[in-house]
Subunit: 314 residues, 6 copies
Amino acid sequence: MFIHNKRLQYTVRVGETNPALASLLLEQFGGPDGELAAAMRYFTQGLAEDDPGRKDMLLDIATEELSHLEVIGSIVAMLNKGVKAQLSEAALKEAELYRSLTAGGNSHTQAILFGGGPALTNSSGVPWTAAYVDSRGEPAADLRSNIAAESRAKIVYERLIAITDDPGIKDALGFLMTREIAHQKSFEKALYTINDNFPPGKLMGVAPFADMYVNTSQGEGDMTGPWNDGEQWTRVDDLDEVMPADDGDGVPTVKLTRAESTAATKLAARTQSVPDEDVQTGADLGAGPGAGRVTGGTDLGSAPSIAKAVKPAK
Amino acid sequence: MFIHNKRLQYTVRVGETNPALASLLLEQFGGPDGELAAAMRYFTQGLAEDDPGRKDMLLDIATEELSHLEVIGSIVAMLNKGVKAQLSEAALKEAELYRSLTAGGNSHTQAILFGGGPALTNSSGVPWTAAYVDSRGEPAADLRSNIAAESRAKIVYERLIAITDDPGIKDALGFLMTREIAHQKSFEKALYTINDNFPPGKLMGVAPFADMYVNTSQGEGDMTGPWNDGEQWTRVDDLDEVMPADDGDGVPTVKLTRAESTAATKLAARTQSVPDEDVQTGADLGAGPGAGRVTGGTDLGSAPSIAKAVKPAK
Amino acid sequence: MFIHNKRLQYTVRVGETNPALASLLLEQFGGPDGELAAAMRYFTQGLAEDDPGRKDMLLDIATEELSHLEVIGSIVAMLNKGVKAQLSEAALKEAELYRSLTAGGNSHTQAILFGGGPALTNSSGVPWTAAYVDSRGEPAADLRSNIAAESRAKIVYERLIAITDDPGIKDALGFLMTREIAHQKSFEKALYTINDNFPPGKLMGVAPFADMYVNTSQGEGDMTGPWNDGEQWTRVDDLDEVMPADDGDGVPTVKLTRAESTAATKLAARTQSVPDEDVQTGADLGAGPGAGRVTGGTDLGSAPSIAKAVKPAK
Amino acid sequence: MFIHNKRLQYTVRVGETNPALASLLLEQFGGPDGELAAAMRYFTQGLAEDDPGRKDMLLDIATEELSHLEVIGSIVAMLNKGVKAQLSEAALKEAELYRSLTAGGNSHTQAILFGGGPALTNSSGVPWTAAYVDSRGEPAADLRSNIAAESRAKIVYERLIAITDDPGIKDALGFLMTREIAHQKSFEKALYTINDNFPPGKLMGVAPFADMYVNTSQGEGDMTGPWNDGEQWTRVDDLDEVMPADDGDGVPTVKLTRAESTAATKLAARTQSVPDEDVQTGADLGAGPGAGRVTGGTDLGSAPSIAKAVKPAK
Amino acid sequence: MFIHNKRLQYTVRVGETNPALASLLLEQFGGPDGELAAAMRYFTQGLAEDDPGRKDMLLDIATEELSHLEVIGSIVAMLNKGVKAQLSEAALKEAELYRSLTAGGNSHTQAILFGGGPALTNSSGVPWTAAYVDSRGEPAADLRSNIAAESRAKIVYERLIAITDDPGIKDALGFLMTREIAHQKSFEKALYTINDNFPPGKLMGVAPFADMYVNTSQGEGDMTGPWNDGEQWTRVDDLDEVMPADDGDGVPTVKLTRAESTAATKLAARTQSVPDEDVQTGADLGAGPGAGRVTGGTDLGSAPSIAKAVKPAK
Amino acid sequence: MFIHNKRLQYTVRVGETNPALASLLLEQFGGPDGELAAAMRYFTQGLAEDDPGRKDMLLDIATEELSHLEVIGSIVAMLNKGVKAQLSEAALKEAELYRSLTAGGNSHTQAILFGGGPALTNSSGVPWTAAYVDSRGEPAADLRSNIAAESRAKIVYERLIAITDDPGIKDALGFLMTREIAHQKSFEKALYTINDNFPPGKLMGVAPFADMYVNTSQGEGDMTGPWNDGEQWTRVDDLDEVMPADDGDGVPTVKLTRAESTAATKLAARTQSVPDEDVQTGADLGAGPGAGRVTGGTDLGSAPSIAKAVKPAK
């Protein structure tokens, strides 16, 4: 059960209102690496977890992320406090309000639709979606997802710190960023406390394919490194060897019943292409007198190739 | 530039058609941990990457994931080959077709909407979204995301293997699952080849908060482990200490201009609640004669509390 | 700041596992009227609210909804506990696992993708989206939205109670349903404690249009009632009167600059249709020998009109 | 069946083109409280409604909302008429067109993707989704949802009026806003014409929980009001009383079959954490020489705490 | 199987960085008509296609579209290269970085969330969704969809060319645009190579309704043209003729079982409206003293009708 | 302005209720090719269209599609009428209701969430999104999109007809399907009435690339046909010729300012990989004693390769 206290986990002191900045900070409120995503990732894992240590840790951190959601949301609410009041009371001339809402970022939607309240969207106004939550119910995978999520959240906070010169906001963001570091450390400890956590899950992998590196991108820029070279790797440069990687012919097949086969034959007959003859097409019908002479031509502007690639005036 | 060869990276041999199974396998075609998500994650990272080694690796693996997308999509196409032909040729009685489409999973949509072609949805029919792609442009974060993504994909393949007894499908899934293990190994190597990769990014974190563990979930079930206990942790059990964690009062504030302040005052006056007096409400108006006696009552079925919590017959 | 205690707000006693039922209950975990939607609706309102009474109430109820999210999620986790273990340990034959996952509802995705953990989706597997949260930052609108949301949630719980015969689940759902009733009552009180809450906001409305009822759907079934008839309504039955409702001509216009006007003329010339002459089309090209005789014909099955509306065999 | 007349329900007179303003007005075309959402909410309810009076009202208002969709879409089309022609005819220098599309709001997407036509997105470019439609098929809930939706739409129109100084647009928005007031009145009448409409649905609620107010957010700022205090409320301040609210132990349980239990034991063994020993982690491997001394340090800019929290130069 | 070469299909030469322009170009990377949509449309069709000619063509073009995705993504990466480095290294003052991110378009999200890497969103930041892929598994429909998709993509490239004056970018966009023209031609050829491709599919249509044009939008502006007039059309101007178009009464009916009928009767009784009496509503309760006099009044600004439609000051 | 008459455009006579079938039919109510998508596609085009003939046609057909939305929604409402009443009145035993909702398709969500009303989702429960609407504001593209959309809708109706044996439903679906054919014919006429409609838009294309066919998918299965062979095509089989297609080196470049260049150098230094030395990774730490011997092994079940690829028991 959750309990709440109206004091924040970190004091929010905003120097002046700025709805455009507020709309950028939403990235950590309702964005993919934001605090709701974090809270929900750990909370859903915690509910299904039976290991008592991990369950406790997941619920601890989930709960703290909710408190961080409150901190970042409070910053947003403070930054929007002016526009909220002025828009709802029509306290400025229309043109001034219009300008204040189109000064950058996505603050226009935040004001018009959400009335200056913190909205669960990212900085482009995209609504938060549970598609961001990648809990899979296997701790050796989930803990790696959590480690990665904390890494991403740390980076986004770092970027927000780099664009903000309000010391109070910067201070609070620094706190939130640092807590992501601490959480990553906890998840790392929890992962390596599971013996035999790689590969995750129960199956080991089919031997010949676990150490194979397939060099599918070739040409200039081909490189080697510990990730594709060395004694633990079987490197495949001649791609014909893996077309296919097994001893088959690389062609998909399925056994059809007689009834299925009959229907498939009918379908093929009905929809067959007759490639031997050329045909007139809708494009042929629609092409005007200029169509036959797609042009490149002389330089008529900044890009040579576009120059005269224009339909002739009629 | 991409080139394609019609041979698959692994031969697909499907024993018999099964559209319901096909709809489950879509999880790895158009699901969040599926092959399109993998390909696009590494491809978008590779395009923006300047480190030549990482760029090469990302493009190698992105390209291979596209080939895996082709393998899993080919399995789906084979499993659907019967229903595709029979539905488009109306080759069965209506009731038989209806039954074949409602036999489980989401095969009904796969047949009716997508005509048996492999659709970029997950196993519930949710369309693939780029919200699944968590590339952030910082390698120490992105590589951790890639490690996590490979872990998750490995687990989902393991689960699909567990529900499939067609040896040809099982074989191909085993190949695909194993390649995720190999890719995870590559990404691990690439991560640890970056010196000083923790914490990711440029900022270190604000000292007092990086080693703090906040025990926000308390009560029975409180546990300790390396993730919250030991010399590297400062553990906070008395939560008053972090309400707030700084030396402020935990209350959010912002400095308003005079004009903002005036508008805020008007807004407050217009929308104030008058809590001292009780009021009649819409619910009061709407409550019927039974409303005053919300009941618990005697046992009228399986759940005592629901028993008689029913509006009285009129 | 949030604090958590591992005891639930209501004890969850599940009689036996049932992943299909679990997938139905997700409607109140990650569905549009579920507990996350409720918690986030009130939480975002509370953060931006300055009225102390409403702020306290919104945070109280938001926090309680998080505890309800925990209760419903715990029921789901219990119902999935068997399939989670059996799938991850491959503890059943493939065919048995396959059957257990295709027994109804969307349990297949819950097991394969989410590993039996409670997922923030609705009962069709649609991920939760913040598009469900309709906070607008004006209390006279938001409180009405909250009243409506509680009404909807109450109904969905009622339906889930109707399909569940496990007394422990029914009991917990009864508790959760009843709390929605209590919350609706609180929001009703808070709404009517605002003087002059209708119409919401600051503007009253333009007089002639506020009492007008436009009878746009006519024909048999036209009815009257307090919603369109009586002394407070001006009813418009002759729709020509409101084509348009003002004294204009009902045609949209805009003043263009000379440059805009010139471009518009060019655009019109380039894309004009030449309706006077008939034209051959792609459909004409593509229509086979049977195309000219779209048929209705004799009864060839259950629906007369479909009977022979079939392309002739070749 | 629907019939259309090309005259609008309200004459649209736009003073000058302005694609940025157009993109803001889209909030009421394709936004969550826009006219399509309104039309579809009432239309889907109307189709399933059997009560003749409500059915007629729902279809009347749904139809009118379609006419409003036409009015707001026509305003958008007028505002975009210049950019549409100039972009499609390349009638301005590239730099001028570029500037005209990046002048605020989301007009860039409206022009590049939608060619200046009114798009069914909100003011941030988020496509309209049926997730906005909250019809539930129970009139006592649906009518409350409709009342709330009209309240929200009224507020959004009010905000758009506040930022527009074009008298023709303002006039049309005033009409549309006022019609929302009228519609809210109709839905209120229809709700209270149902006897015994609270609580909505058939079940009354479990007695002890319907009047309980749980004071989950405590600390400074705790308030009372008619929503949580007075004779109809049982207020719970000591939260231990509702951990849990029933007489159980607040712990979730489920009865497993023997086979499920065996699998669960195996799963627990495979994934157990071994919390007694400290472990080396990936973060330990990755931390550079500066990792041990996460610093706070001296003031190096606007925020003291961020000051020197920077990785040491190498 | 896919193979990659690090050389692009077209050389990308960007004159100077410009993150706002980059965010506009994303329309063709992750937008609905962008290269990923194209690649996935043809790839999913190709996998399920059995006709060898069409299969080859679809895989050829799908593969080329992936190469185009790489070209457009590389342009975006080049345009973002400055902001990526400066943001991640905090190489500018906060205010300068802030300004560089709020200069138009959606570049703020591209920088903060995606770190300057090309993101699979459109120019408003909307994540790519497989809802854009409209493959249906019937070639006579799919080829028409492909023709339309190429037409749309061509137009969006044309618009991007019109707003860009960087010759290198313009050149590459010209190449990409032209390839859409070539692809449209291929799909046209493939469509008309299928005999009897109209109407698509197997059924012809029910005779009387295939040539009927229903003039549902009437009033001034009613026009004729080859699309609704001429010998192949039966035009319906008197809409009563098609209310309904069959010989029934236009009323929906269903046969209920006795049990269903009983339940329906109960439902009707419980939720019936009692339209004969007027009722007091929540709106009546909430309307303040000004509510009775919704005003139009004197001119108080730009729009007469809004003038005094303001709640009276208290 | 829209007007409505309660008579349907086609009489709906449903033989018996069937919520599972209802959930399949939703494909044409709220699916991507359904009637709402059609109505909104033409309506948004019509609002922005200035050509009087096309505008009239688009509004005619948009309005008719709304009437079709009503027909298909009425069928769904009839099919759900039993479950709606029985669920809301709890008129069946819990187990019976549960079974009736899990009988196939997505009827569970339709009943629990939407109460049996027609919901704007597809047959998998995915909410309708305006991402389905591909209006681009250029008639030569939009009309092709409309032609394609009608083709797709026709096919989906054909499939629904194939799975339904209720003659009344089949009859109505036949009407709706046929109207799609008629609409496609209108759009074809309108397209070819525009002179010079190919390529769509104003630019012709850069000459050398408009007739080039790039044979990117090679190997067995390479085919020729009118789409890639013949006098109008320049076919490229040696792909080195188009790596790149221009005379450059196929490498992306951008000119950086000095400040950008400095930051880029710092970024490269901070995140460089040190590929020369092998490194220990998290996977190395996590691999258990069995990790070194990823096995293939003897046959232990249906798929040889999976056989013993299992972690050793401890």
